[in-house]
Symmetry: C2
Subunit: 657 residues, 2 copies
């Protein structure tokens, strides 16, 4: 029989509410409505259910709490402060200010105790599901010490976003019973009442996904919340969806309306609200002593839990491996180079490399958004991760690129080294989650095959054009487009060595293997290198991926005509730009203006290497449906066309002399 709730519990709830209110009023910006509505839920969860240890925020056995509705971050910041994390009240007072630990939405790696960056709606829901997959998988392999539970708070906006639907359908299929969603059913979004646009039966939808669904009719009733959390956490065989009827902005005269969602309402309403909640309107950021004392009980329980957990881990036969994974130390890998032979698509080379890696990196897991035979993502011998086979390392994501990417992020945040595959063009479907991985600087790996119009018959709906520019413009992402199987080796090495996300951009079509005895392919690890050519070139041909072979063909033609040229393979701009200037200028001497870049993709960005006096051979139109070689040739990706471009830039350079 749990202890009854008392006045201190109510004081805790109202302290959470007034902290959010004061922070938003101080910043004159932010979202007080959610924290004020969900304070009772957060209080009951953190004080009675959540396993956490503020003295060791990274304790691997802790429960994860994900605030998918990241705009309600003052709820999270208040809980972290009140429960004893290293987030002082002075930082709450600097809410949304330059350099503070309390930015406008929670940022992983920036504020202690924040499990994942949220704010773009739906992302936290998907990432939480990825974490739950990790918990189940690790538990199945290493035993209960390696698992954990995941609780997420989701809003109307989270549930309207398609990505949460995708991921929730998969979570139901996977029967992730270490996962609970609390749905903040407050009936309000920015435009007004949810009856404007969101009248579906949410609980029935989650039941259709295979979730256990329950309802808390009064989100202010601590005992009702307590019972519902217990039941959901104990439910076995499926994830749980707990609808909690809350009142947005509870305590304010705007409570229950869309006005309460966001923005400061001014000192008058601030004072009114604080009086309503039993707080002195003339005092700000007030934390009565009884409040941290109440939460200290939970922290003490958490520390004891961790102590027991550490002892169990010490006795674990695979303690060293688990500790290595918890520390994020991916093993160094050895990969065999490809010797010259039949041409092979870089997607196929990638498949062979995954097969080499999987035995060396036990935390490698991966999957595809229903394109397994095309993405070459499933190494021989792997089992699927399914309810009956949770040790399986292969994930069947279904046709859900966006959910896949959020789940990969959740796995990357949970000691695994995950990859996800789809056609490069369909990266677009997942872009918001790609962006979050980049913003969090986590080592998600994307296997993007069918990387250009060279994919052929599927036509322009499936042929990427602007995706390379998109990813290159996204901070922190390494975009690696190898020219052959041996450059693909370097791509996978890079992906596993980096602590930031990597996109491997791979061909559908077969490409010749660059002989590692003849070409310095290992230099692909520097992002760009002189593949072949003269020390004193008249013209430099710069290319990536399949077009490197087009450039090599053009070099042959130029050579037959007595023109000295150099071919630079540039598989990864980001890596190349990190090299010392001396290396970069050796590869691309700045005094040589006669340059031709070749890539079967949008030209945007290539002037960085071509300059205003070079030529950019690219694609400023959509592709077409026909056999791949035909499409590439018709759209100008031939040695002859590159040779012509070289002639043009050489002639222009001669004119300038």
């Amino acid at each position: 029989m749990p202890a009854a709730f008392d006045d201190t519990d109510l004081l805790c709830v109202n302290t959470i509410r007034t902290l959010a209110l004061d922070a938003v009023e101080q910043a004159k910006s932010g979202h007080p409505g959610l924290p004020m509505g969900c304070a009772p839920l957060a209080h009951v969860l953190f004080s009675r259910h959540l396993r956490f240890n503020p003295a060791d925020p990274a304790w691997p056995g802790r429960d994860r709490f994900v605030l998918s509705a990241g705009h309600g971050c003052m709820l999270l910041y208040s809980m972290l402060h009140l429960t004893g994390y290293d987030l002082p009240l002075s930082e709450l007072k600097r809410f949304r200010q330059w350099g503070s630990l309390t930015p406008g939405h929670p940022e992983y790696g920036h504020t202690v105790g924040v499990e994942t960056t949220t704010g773009p709606l739906g992302q936290g829901a998907g990432t939480a599901i990825g974490m739950a997959v990790a918990g189940k998988h690790l538990e199945a392999i290493y035993g209960p010490e390696a698992g954990f539970r995941v609780f997420a708070l989701v809003s109307d906006g989270d549930l309207m976003e398609g990505v949460s639907g995708e991921a929730s359908s998969l979570a139901g299929h996977l029967e992730l019973d270490n996962l609970v969603f609390f749905y903040d059913d407050n009936g309000v979004s920015i435009d007004g009442d949810t009856t404007l646009a969101f009248t579906e039966d949410r609980a029935a939808r989650y039941a259709a996904y295979g979730w256990n669904t329950t309802t808390v009719l009064d989100g202010n009733d601590l005992a009702e919340l307590d019972a519902a959390i217990s039941a959901a956490a104990e439910h076995r065989g499926s994830p749980s969806f707990v609808s909690v009827k809350t009142i947005i902005g509870f305590g304010s005269s705007d409570a229950g309306t869309s006005r309460a969602h966001s923005d400061a309402r001014g000192p008058e309403q601030q004072a009114q609200t604080k009086r309503t909640l039993g707080f002195d309107p003339d005092k700000f950021f007030v934390v009565p002593d009884a409040v941290p004392e109440r939460y200290a009980e939970a922290a003490v329980r958490g520390a004891a839990l961790e102590e027991r957990w550490q002892a169990e881990l010490d006795a674990h036969p695979q303690a060293a491996e688990l500790r290595r994974m918890h520390a994020g130390d991916t093993p160094a890998i050895e990969l065999e180079r490809f010797s010259v032979g039949d041409p092979i698509a870089t997607r196929a080379a990638s498949g062979k490399l995954i097969a080499q890696i999987e035995g060396q990196v036990p935390e490698l897991v991966g999957g595809s958004a229903d394109l397994t035979p095309s993405n070459n993502t499933r190494p021989p011998g792997w089992e699927d991760f399914q309810p009956a086979t949770r040790r399986g390392r292969y994930l069947r994501f279904g046709v859900r690129e966006h959910a896949m990417t959020t789940i990969v992020n959740g796995l990357a945040l949970s000691y695994l080294r995950p990859y996800g595959g789809t056609f490069f063009n369909f990266m677009d479907y997942a872009k918001p989650a790609v962006r979050l991985a980049a913003l969090m600087n986590i080592p998600s790996i994307w296997v993007y095959t069918h990387d250009s119009v060279g994919l052929g018959e599927d036509g322009p709906t499936h042929q990427p054009v602007e995706q390379l520019a998109t990813l290159r413009a996204t901070p922190n992402v390494a975009v690696f487009r190898p020219a052959d199987a041996n450059e693909t080796v370097e791509g996978w090495r890079l992906a596993l060595a980096r602590r930031s996300p990597t996109a491997l951009v791979l061909t559908r079509q077969a490409l010749p293997i660059l002989d590692p005895d003849r070409y310095p392919v290992a230099d692909a690890a520097r992002g760009g290198y002189v593949l072949e050519g003269d020390d004193d070139p008249q013209v430099i041909l710069i290319a990536t991926g399949s077009e490197v072979h087009v450039a090599m063909g053009a070099r042959t033609i130029l050579g037959e005509r007595g023109i000295r040229s150099r071919v630079v393979s540039l598989p990864c701009w980001e890596l190349f730009e990190e090299q010392p200037e001396s290396y970069r200028t050796a590869v691309l001497p700045p005094e040589i203006d006669a340059r031709v870049t070749v890539e079967a993709a949008a030209t945007v960005g290539w002037e960085r290497y071509a300059g205003l006096r070079g030529a950019v051979v690219g694609l400023d139109r959509f592709g077409a449906s026909a056999p791949g070689a035909t499409v590439l040739a018709e759209l100008g990706f031939t040695p002859e066309r590159v040779d012509e471009a070289a002639d043009r830039v050489l002639a222009a350079a001669a004119d300038r002399v």
Copy 2:
């Protein structure tokens, strides 16, 4: 009592199947499984229900058929050929070949009778819902002549994609009873059986969305299909979701397995399948005479329907307006310029312009993904489009950017001039639909506000960085980022004049108004122009949007130091690059290497204007949470920093002399 189905009907069905089979075998590429499984459904729909007139494919009163599962395009091509559209058998024989009318996925504007481009899964579902909105809206305003019905065929993949869930939730809310989804429930996707990843109760999910749901247990039973289609089409008060249990690849020895989904299986299986279906294995692309005769009955009915429709339209009091809208002739608009006054955000200017436009363009409709007060998308006096108010022109999309964009596409394909608003950063959520609008070259308009880190406190999760590069790299999109209210005028003019998509990229923060009596702001219509400065500048400062004012500030500093400079405002690269060379070189003289570009966004692409010898002031990191002016200043978007960059490029230029 409908006529019984006879042997000719079965012959039609098997002709559809064998055409798909022969086309895929001939191309050695493609997806025979869906056409062979869904041939009975298509036959019953086209022969008995669909209102269409192959002699006038653009008849506005026709039913729309959307093949959301675009990979099954041979089903659509076969139906179009057999029912008498201008798609000869010779084109079916050129399936997936360069220049054919039968590309690998259906392309709007390329093949007659294709209502929208599909292939990227989920897109057709959303676009069909947009068409249904248009049908309901136009019917409410102009009467039954202006409405139409929409039938879409959706696959497992379509239903797994989040965008279809978003759009279907909204369709249920909007009670679109002119809409029917046929769900090809074949139990198979590329990876294998749908039990691998997709075990939710789809019909229950659609019921939760508020749809009418029914099931056809035997997708080969023509009478059962016929009855289900009739019931769904006649159902009032909600859209209908008809699950049809089909056998993928019916007739082939691979039927019912994922092997039947795609790819040619070779002549042996081709022969076996044709024998099973009662066709001569040695003859190819066979169309028995009775087949087109059977469909001709439907075409005759359609022609008669159109004749009656045309007569009704002739008698319609608003016939001229309807005919104008059907022809896609948007009225010319007049917009007032802003006179100098208080600074105003370009999003606010946009809101005032929409209010000026809406009375001049009756087909203007629009909405926001639950950011109405922030996007300034709702003009005063507009009513919402809701079940009880279908004349309303304002759409409440909910937090569903992707569905919004597919629906905007569907509206643009249906005689309306739609716009949709969200924060620019959340364009990412909708990118696949943005891309389809670009690929179709339809005039969708996007109102993207909060266009840079200048949005401030919401922080890096909400601050766009790479989105401008993404859209500039996407063919056919005009990306317009105005520097003030008066450039915004030109942006809206452009958006309404274009037949291709336009993105208006607008600030949250207030910007000074450029005095139209002093600055040639009307030249923004040329994409770029000399805003102010010397005829013989030493350095050119090039900027867009809010950073134009930063460049102007730098020009003042440079002038104080005796350096001649020019400020070029470049709101729209695409428009500028369409200008004659003489204009472009007058604005940006090629002999001037000393250039500084300024934009609070990723640098990728700006070397196009800066060259290798200029400086690009941009942002190759994510933003931060703080007041907008602080963020912009901390990240270097100040006149002083631009002045320093100008000094650097001038010094380097001096060194080269």
